[in-house]
Amino acid sequence: MNTDLVSKYEPTTFWEQFKTPDSIVFEEIQIYIEELCKQIKGDTFEISIITEEGYIDRNFLFDYILYYAKCYDDIPRQVTRFHFFSCSKARIISIFEKLEKNYSQDLVFALNKEYLGYIIKKPIDSGRIGKSILRKYPEIDANGNFRVLSVKNLNRINIFGIPLKLESLPYQEQDDTVSKCATTSLWISLKALEHKFHLTKSYAPAEITNEIFKDSSMKDGRKFPNQGLNLFQILNFFHQVGYDVVTFSQLTDSKLNESEEDFIHHLIKGYLKYSIPIIAILELKKTEDQTVADKHTVVITGYKEDKKTKKLIELYAHDDQVGPYSKIEINDNITDWKDNRINKLGYFKVTLNDLIIPLYPNIRLHYWKIYDTMQDLINDPEFIINKDFFYYTTELTDSNKYKNFLIKKILPRVKEKLKIEIEDYIFSPNSRYLWLISIKYKKNSDNFADYIFDATKNDVLNYKVLTFFES
């Protein structure tokens, strides 16, 4: 192989090329990659980079066609792609040399195991981080808490003829020209939705902005350079490309009560478990006196829950001004975001105001009906006497995913009578989309029972209960 393309990761010199006056994204991605590597490999980790010059990225190419090509300055249309590996330069070279001599899937697998993902450098003055795909944090953190980072795309990445795979959600920084935060959030969301539902073509950021401004009633503000979108344009775009949208709004107009807080916690987890991206509209304030808050959007891509209490303790968001899987600490109030990185941009208060959830149109059962049904179960006199021993979760899913879970996790541990009941369910026709209320035994998190609802209609009239306990 051409060994000049492989280099040892030298943070100080490497990140210099991404520096722009207002951006902190490169700093945060540096922290992310180093922390990720530490979590995978321990304190003594090594990182190597393969540099791919002259790469054509579809996303930047369409941004180029719709905007940059018409600028007077000579802006290249090719980008540079940097692939990160969690091992030494010598090991990368060794694997490539072995592949050249005797190509095998084991060697490809070995390379894939060390692969941390890539970032693209765009040849522009602002927002230089282009489409980037970085490996997700491990599922279990150092304290044994559980992370759910299920909003993803299955990315097939080719490095000089070697096909690698990485399940993660693409990210990019806003360039402040063809896309601001709203367009970038739409782009990130579509990357997850196209993997899940296959409804749309792959849009570049400039194509999204362009699509929105095709509708004459949506021409609010300037297209290019883009001045941001409004909520109406965001919602309308999803409808235009075939999705339906659920909104949860005005979360901060008055303080949420305990039950509303609980509702939001459950709904975020319920949709994220099925890999649905959630767009969060935030209000940012630089001072207490600021009367009109700045508005910002991010995409919530995952959460972390406490291993004992099962309470949501952290959210993860793709934030086009901060970075991928940016951590948000959740304390008593879910609308009050403790996001130190946004604070780095000069804001002291970050408040969650609205949630936008794009959905496949046939998913119709509204979440509040599932939540209220769960509350009805929890507070039933016969259920309440054992409330300390069980906990409840809600989850959107589909028939295939759920049946796969039953086959893999439930059937092997149940005896004949229950097995027949569960097999009856597995081999019967079902609605494609389902909402589940799961009852789990607290001591070992074992599934005790599932209430299964048809998500393609908006009522809880017909449901099925599967129990997984034999007395």
Partner: protein
């Protein structure tokens, strides 16, 4: 009563509770109003505010 037995009792009680429970769709629909604050429609004024972040 041993710990194992009490766990068995708890689970048996829960199983019976599940068997006895009937979910009432009308009762659930009646609760709609309590969620209006967060599930209600977004005002036009708010829809048109620019998100410039």
């Amino acid at each position: 009563m041993s710990r194992k037995k009490s766990e068995l009792t708890i689970k048996r009680e829960m199983l019976q509770a599940i068997k006895n429970k009937k979910i009432n769709n009308s009762k659930i629909i009646a609760k709609a109003k309590s969620h209006e604050k967060i599930t209600g429609r977004i005002s036009t004024h708010k829809l048109l505010q620019a998100i410039t972040g």
